[in-house]
């Protein structure tokens, strides 16, 4: 049972939880958070795959990938949030 296994499985579990959240959540915000959980889980798996037993240095490539992934995810989150805000404005406008 190495670190990679532990965190890898944890990453998968987080991904699974996120998936469930995305599928089931009714709340737009919550679905977005769930998607972020998915992203976190996927990133965790990637980072875990880069781990090497201590004397060896970890593989830097997945790290780079994950950094890219994090930035991409935050961009997507920002867009989704902008949509949510705009929708909310329009919906409350029409309600009013």
């Amino acid at each position: 049972m190495t670190e990679a296994t532990i965190y890898g499985l944890a990453g998968l579990a987080v991904f699974g939880l996120g998936l469930m959240g995305v599928l089931g959540a009714a709340d737009r915000l919550r679905r977005l958070v769930a998607l972020n959980l998915c992203a976190g889980g996927a990133a965790m798996v990637l980072v875990a795959s880069s781990w090497r037993p201590p004397p060896a240095a970890p593989d830097p490539v997945p790290h780079a990938l994950v950094i890219t992934g994090i930035v991409v995810m935050v961009s997507a989150t920002a867009v989704a949030l902008a949509l949510i805000r705009r929708l909310y404005s329009l919906e409350t406008d029409t309600d009013a």
Partner: protein, 575 residues
């Protein structure tokens, strides 16, 4: 006891007629009516022939008796009378002039049956006149405009006929010097005499141009009367000729030519005239005229070639019997039809009527066809010049009769004959069916009845269906043509295709209904499904489901024992 039997035969109807005068006895008389001809029938069936009974006291010294030929006339006549009487009992049940009708009916019966039993000219003449004149009452019975006209015409012709007959018989008796019919028939009478006799009987027989009375009278008379008029009484004309004209004894070439020609004309002219008639019974009357044309052919041949008479006579007798049964059956059937009120029953009666109609039209193996074939054979002994024409005429007469029968059946529907109210149809059906069956069975029972006289019939060819088929085709074509001329081509074709189209439309409708129902369901399904999926957000669930499915399918590859590539997961997971 031939005397007693004779008395019974003639006396029963006569007595009943007289009883009718007593109001108290009328019920009894009507109930007994169907049994009135039975003594005569029994006499004809069971009596030994020939026999004679002389009653010098009567008329000019009446001699009554029965010979083989007369017997064969009497049997069908008595049968027809029985059936007609049975029908009349029902038919007249509610008629306020029933008594008069019954009187005339019984007198006519007496005359008709009696004349077959007469052996001497005066007696014969008396019975003949009794029959003819009392029939006037039958024709007149309805008192309608039509009946009055028909009766007037009838009586005119009867008078003329009686006159001619009287003259003829008188001359014949004079030339022969004997009152006995048998003697008259054995003597080579002079041409005028024969001509007068032929004319006189010809009126009764209804050959052209002496037929004018016949169809209207048949049309106007009540159904039972029509039946006997056509079935029994016109046979009296034939019997008269057979009994008085010296056929087989001497050649009357000129008369023969005339009679043959008249016969031929009669066959087809009757068709042409009958086809224009609308009343079904009148059409049947013309059919009788047409049929008597056939008889005239036989007589004409025998007039020209006396040698042929021996062969022709039995055939003519058979034809007379055949026509009597079939035609009377048709008339009674008309009555049956007239009293039906439900279409289904009418269709059934129509179908039943097709049997006698077919018999008459010459359906092979049935009496009409056999009679004609036999006549064809018999005519072989006749004048050779005329033979092909006669054969042709016989063949075409089948066509003609078919056409008339078709016309009759059609008109039956178009112009339903009048019937008294409240007539019980069951009581009418039995006589009709009996007659129709008798007509059908005639070829089978004829040898038993007629013995050696049935020889030509038994040996006759079965006949050919072609005249019948041709007639049917022409009738169809004519019907189509007439219908078309009335409603136009397109309507006819629409009618023809209508049943198929209606059926198709019905199937189409049913299918369309089902399709619509299905379509409604089908249209409702997607929105329902859609709503359900949206409500539960199953699209989202589908993502996970598909993921699991693909994972499982992919995983199955690796857990399959045949796959050596994938080692079990646990081994790889070692420390």
């Amino acid at each position: 006891m031939p005397g007693l039997a004779l008395l019974a035969a003639i006396g029963t109807p006569l007595g009943l007629a007289l009883l009718l005068a007593l109001p108290a006895a009328r019920g009894l008389v009507w109930r007994a009516l169907p049994f009135a001809p039975l003594p005569a029938l029994a006499l004809a069936l069971f009596g030994t022939v020939p026999f004679t009974v002389s009653n010098d006291w009567l008329i000019l010294g009446s001699v009554l008796g029965l010979d083989a030929t007369a017997r064969l006339f009497l049997i069908p006549a008595a049968l027809v009378w029985t059936a007609a009487a049975a029908a009349a009992r029902v038919w007249m049940a509610g008629d306020r002039r029933a008594t008069g009708f019954g009187l005339c009916f019984l007198f006519a019966m007496t005359g008709n049956l009696g004349l077959f039993l007469a052996d001497d000219a005066p007696t014969f003449y008396v019975f003949f006149a009794l029959m003819s004149f009392s029939s006037y009452g039958l024709v007149l019975h309805a008192r309608s405009e039509e009946a009055l006209g028909a009766a007037r015409l009838y009586i005119t012709f009867v008078l003329a006929g009686e006159l001619a007959l009287f003259a003829g018989l008188g001359l014949a008796v004079g030339e022969t010097g004997s009152l006995m019919l048998a003697d008259i028939a054995d003597t080579a009478l002079s041409v005028p005499t024969v001509a007068l006799l032929l004319a006189g009987f010809g009126v009764k027989l209804g050959v052209m141009p002496l037929h004018f009375w016949l169809p209207p009278a048949h049309g106007a008379a009540p159904v039972p009367a029509s039946a006997v008029l056509s079935g029994a009484m016109i046979k009296a004309g034939l019997f008269g000729i057979v009994a008085t004209v010296p056929l087989g004894e001497a050649a009357y070439a000129d008369l023969g030519v005339v009679v043959t020609a008249v016969g031929m004309v009669t066959i087809f002219a009757a068709l042409l005239m009958g086809a224009r008639e609308t009343a079904p019974k009148t059409v049947l009357g013309f059919s009788s005229v047409s049929q008597m044309g056939i008889v005239a052919l036989g007589i004409g041949a025998a007039l020209m070639a006396p040698g042929a008479w021996g062969a022709v006579l039995p055939v003519l007798v058979f034809l007379a019997a055949h026509h009597a049964l079939a035609k009377a059956g048709l008339f009674l059937g008309t009555g049956v039809f007239a009293v039906q009120h439900r279409p289904a029953a009418r269709i059934a009666v129509t179908v039943a009527l097709v049997l006698p109609a077919l018999i008459l039209a010459g359906m092979p193996l049935l009496s009409g066809a056999l009679g004609k074939e036999a006549l064809k054979t018999a005519l072989g002994a006749g004048p050779a010049v005329w033979l092909p024409w006669m054969t042709l005429a016989l063949m075409l007469s089948g066509v003609a009769t078919t056409l008339l029968m078709a016309r009759f059946l059609v008109q039956l529907w178009r112009k339903r004959p009048a019937a008294p109210a409240g007539v019980e149809s069951d009581a009418l059906v039995i006589p009709f069916v009996l007659l129709a069956l008798a007509a059908a069975a005639l070829p089978a029972i004829w040898p038993t009845v007629a013995g050696s006289a049935a020889q030509p019939i038994a040996e006759a060819a079965p006949g050919t269906p072609w005249p019948l088929v041709a007639g049917a085709l022409i009738a169809t074509a004519a019907a189509v043509a007439s219908h078309t001329s009335r409603v136009g081509w397109s309507a006819v074709l629409s009618t023809l295709t209508a049943p198929a189209e209606r059926a198709a439309a019905r199937v189409g409708d049913a299918l369309a209904r089902r399709r619509r129902a299905l379509a409604r369901k089908a249209r409702a399904l997607p929105p329902a499904l859609d709503g359900w999926i949206a409500a539960h957000r199953l699209g989202q669930t589908g993502i996970a489901a598909l993921l699991v499915t693909v994972l499982v399918i992919g995983g199955a590859q690796h857990v399959a024992p045949t796959d050596p590539i994938a080692p079990p997961a646990a081994e790889q997971n070692g420390p």
